[in-house]
């Protein structure tokens, strides 16, 4: 993975010192609250309901073991012994004190980490496919591209005060695991159909929030060498023409929508033609230097199948169940990528204790070349484990309550922190996720239901990606009570789609029954081998709508009577 050079190191250390001085000046009154707020945000520090929240950048979700161990130190020393992985592949701590932040920044700098540009109207953490360098359907590892963009966008003097925040995602695979169509800019690495040269498909104007849109392709093929100049042209057009009169209309998706894809493309191409590409685009030597950090690890030459793995699978049903759900095929023979679910039944999605962090770090060090990934689905991936080691890893995970076999299944729920922590939230997310997780806990039933993504946001800003959940849940307030709107048919993949509303909002207590009714429609209507989202596409929303608005099913009444 990427390692800081002397410039990166100095830059981050200087930033730590700068913020330490800014905190001092805030406390002695030389900086007002209004002056300090944008400064703290640029350093990842929010004020939430109960405390400050610190968001730490995990570039494209990649962490070294020593970095995760340092996060565990911070969790124990300065927080309440746990952290939360977000849908931007970052980590958040929820109980931070302002007085401690400069020291925390310093601890992060010790392991080549920081909080720069994890908030504010700038280019945020670049996200990427969590199976980068692993997946068989990958044309090229997206991380060198993501790292190049990280370096270009870090403290970019022209783009530090954009109309609004700006998010970029990169995938190098056929199957989109990075939701590139739902970002301000999404990049898909592809091969030119005629020349076979590698370049990018450039998608702009996707996004969730108040006004969700699937992004539009503005360039079908961008040669690799032109990447930064083209990105510069896009962000420059946005910076000049994006709306600053209304915060809710300030994202690039609104500009693209208002002027149309054709006009947007024309403006970008015009700007691109005027830019002096060679002064902006990265030197090929620098590109090669960065790419070298992401060279494949020193894999052993192994048989395609491990007999030990197959034997454990055959003799241990619990292990087999876990492997079925959580193990992902690796392109190198004898290896596998595994997803550690942070969705234990009844727990808060994405939360991880300091003890679990240390265990995961140890496992990554021992079994996966000292590296791990955070997924935008709020799980953790060990990307390069020998199949023969999977059983030992699983046993360790079991001891730490980290072996929940539910990746991609109905209880693998995305949820934002919601009103349990977040000052912007309008309703809680976590308890809804917990109740649904308990409702669908039965392993056989989960397996029978198959792939189904439920995503929950506690406000319209959509940090929980509800619009692109196969089932989406949005928490709002109605007449002083938490109220939940349900959407159906969202999709975060290459078939990106925004879910449609099923009907009026419902009370929190009614959410599990309502979701169960939707799942029952699927189970009754599916064809052999058809997953939930495909059934929705085939039969349309009407049967689900009908079930959604139906009165509480008989079985819930029976349940009530049974309790009475």
């Amino acid at each position: 993975m990427y390692r800081y050079d002397q410039f990166d190191e100095r830059f981050v250390r200087e930033r730590v010192a700068q913020f330490r001085a800014q905190v001092k000046r805030r406390l002695d009154g030389s900086l007002s609250d209004d002056e300090f707020k944008p400064l703290r945000l640029m350093n990842g520090l929010y004020l939430q309901l109960h405390a400050y929240m610190l968001r730490i950048a995990v570039p494209y979700g990649t962490l070294a073991s020593r970095q995760l161990r340092q996060l565990a130190v911070i969790a124990d020393r300065y927080d309440r012994g746990y952290g939360h992985f977000t849908t931007r592949q970052n980590m958040q701590f929820n109980w931070i004190k302002l007085r401690d932040v400069p020291d925390i920044h310093s601890l992060l700098a010790d392991v080549e980490m920081h909080c720069i540009q994890t908030s504010g109207n700038c280019i945020r953490n670049v996200t990427a496919d969590h199976f980068a360098g692993v997946a068989a359907d990958e044309l090229e590892d997206p991380r060198p591209t993501a790292e190049l963009i990280r370096q270009w966008s870090s403290l970019h003097p022209e783009f530090s005060f954009l109309p609004r925040k700006f998010k970029i995602a990169v995938t190098g695979a056929e199957h989109d695991r990075a939701a590139v169509k739902l970002h301000d800019i999404g990049l898909r690495i592809l091969r030119h159909p005629d020349t076979h040269e590698i370049g990018y498909e450039v998608i702009v104007g996707g996004g969730l929030g108040r006004t969700p849109y699937v992004g539009k392709v503005v360039r079908e093929f961008l040669p690799r060498r032109d990447l930064l100049a083209y990105l510069e042209a896009i962000v420059r057009v946005y910076n000049a023409d994006g709306r600053r009169d209304n915060k809710f209309k300030a994202r690039i998706k609104i500009l693209v929508h208002e002027i149309g894809t054709e006009e947007f493309r024309r403006r970008v191409e015009e700007e691109f033609a005027q830019l002096d590409g060679p002064t902006i685009n990265a030197d090929p030597e620098e590109v090669a230097r960065i790419a070298a950090y992401f060279a494949p690890p020193a894999y052993e030459k192994l048989p395609a199948k491990s007999n030990a793995y197959e034997t454990h699978r055959a003799t241990n049903p619990a292990f087999a169940t876990w492997a079925d759900a959580n193990v992902f095929p690796h392109r190198v023979p004898g290896y596998a990528a595994l997803t550690i679910s942070l969705k234990a039944i009844g727990e808060a999605p994405g939360d991880i204790t300091s003890g679990q962090m240390r265990l995961v770090a140890d496992l990554a060090e021992k079994y996966s070349f000292d590296e791990l990934r955070v997924t935008h689905l709020q799980n953790v991936v060990l990307a390069h484990v020998r199949q023969a080691d999977l059983f030992a890893v699983w046993q360790k995970l079991c001891e730490a309550d980290l072996a929940t076999p539910n990746v991609g299944l109905v209880t693998d729920i995305i949820a934002c922190p919601g009103l349990d922590y977040c000052a912007l939230a309008t309703a809680r997310s976590i308890p809804i996720a917990q109740e649904l997780s308990k409702r669908f806990a039965d392993q056989e039933r989960q397996k029978d239901i198959g792939p189904l993504g439920i995503k929950i946001s506690g406000c319209i800003n959509a940090c929980g990606h509800h619009h692109i959940g196969n089932i989406g849940i949005l928490g709002l307030e109605k007449n002083g009570v938490e109220n939940y709107q349900i959407t159906l048919g969202g999709d975060a993949t290459e078939n990106a789609a925004i879910g449609g509303h099923l009907g009026p909002g419902i009370d929190a207590k009614d959410v599990p029954d309502a979701i169960e009714r939707l799942v029952d429609v699927y189970l009754a209507q599916r064809e052999k081998g058809e997953v939930f989202i495909d059934t929705v596409r085939r039969i349309g929303v009407a049967p689900f709508k009908e079930a959604f608005v139906a009165k509480a099913p008989v079985k819930s009444k029976e349940r009530e009577n049974a309790v009475a």
Binding site: G29, H50, A51, K97, A348, L419, D420, Y421, R428
Partner: protein, 111 residues
């Protein structure tokens, strides 16, 4: 310019401590972390006093994000915010009763 409409009384005033971020409640002339110790404004004069206290504390870099919250009062005289958002803010995360003020001072308030 007209003053923004004040929340219905009775009300308490809460804020976040600048250094710690923790939720604090005005007692009229100091700040307590215990919601039970909040000064309850039953009349405009007391609410004015709370707001003046907050304004001075904000100017002195002691608190941020201070505002009045309407409350109901239980039999023991303890205030509970009427809005669920402020109840969570003055208690702690609902799924983690081991954390926040609910753990520190006892979970006396209904959600």
């Amino acid at each position: 310019m007209a003053q923004p409409k004040r929340v219905p009384l009775p009300a308490i005033l809460l804020a976040n401590d600048l250094l710690d971020g923790d939720v604090v409640f005005s007692t009229g002339d100091s700040w307590s972390r215990n919601p039970a110790e909040a000064l309850i404004a039953y009349d405009d004069a007391t609410a004015d006093r709370l707001e003046a206290h907050a304004k001075a504390a904000f100017a002195a870099q002691i608190v941020v994000d201070a505002y009045l919250v309407d409350v109901s009062i239980d039999a023991a005289g303890v205030p509970t915010p009427r809005h669920f958002r402020e109840r969570f803010k003055s208690l702690g995360p609902s799924h983690r009763p081991d954390l926040g003020k609910q753990a520190q001072y006892g979970n006396a308030h209904p959600r």
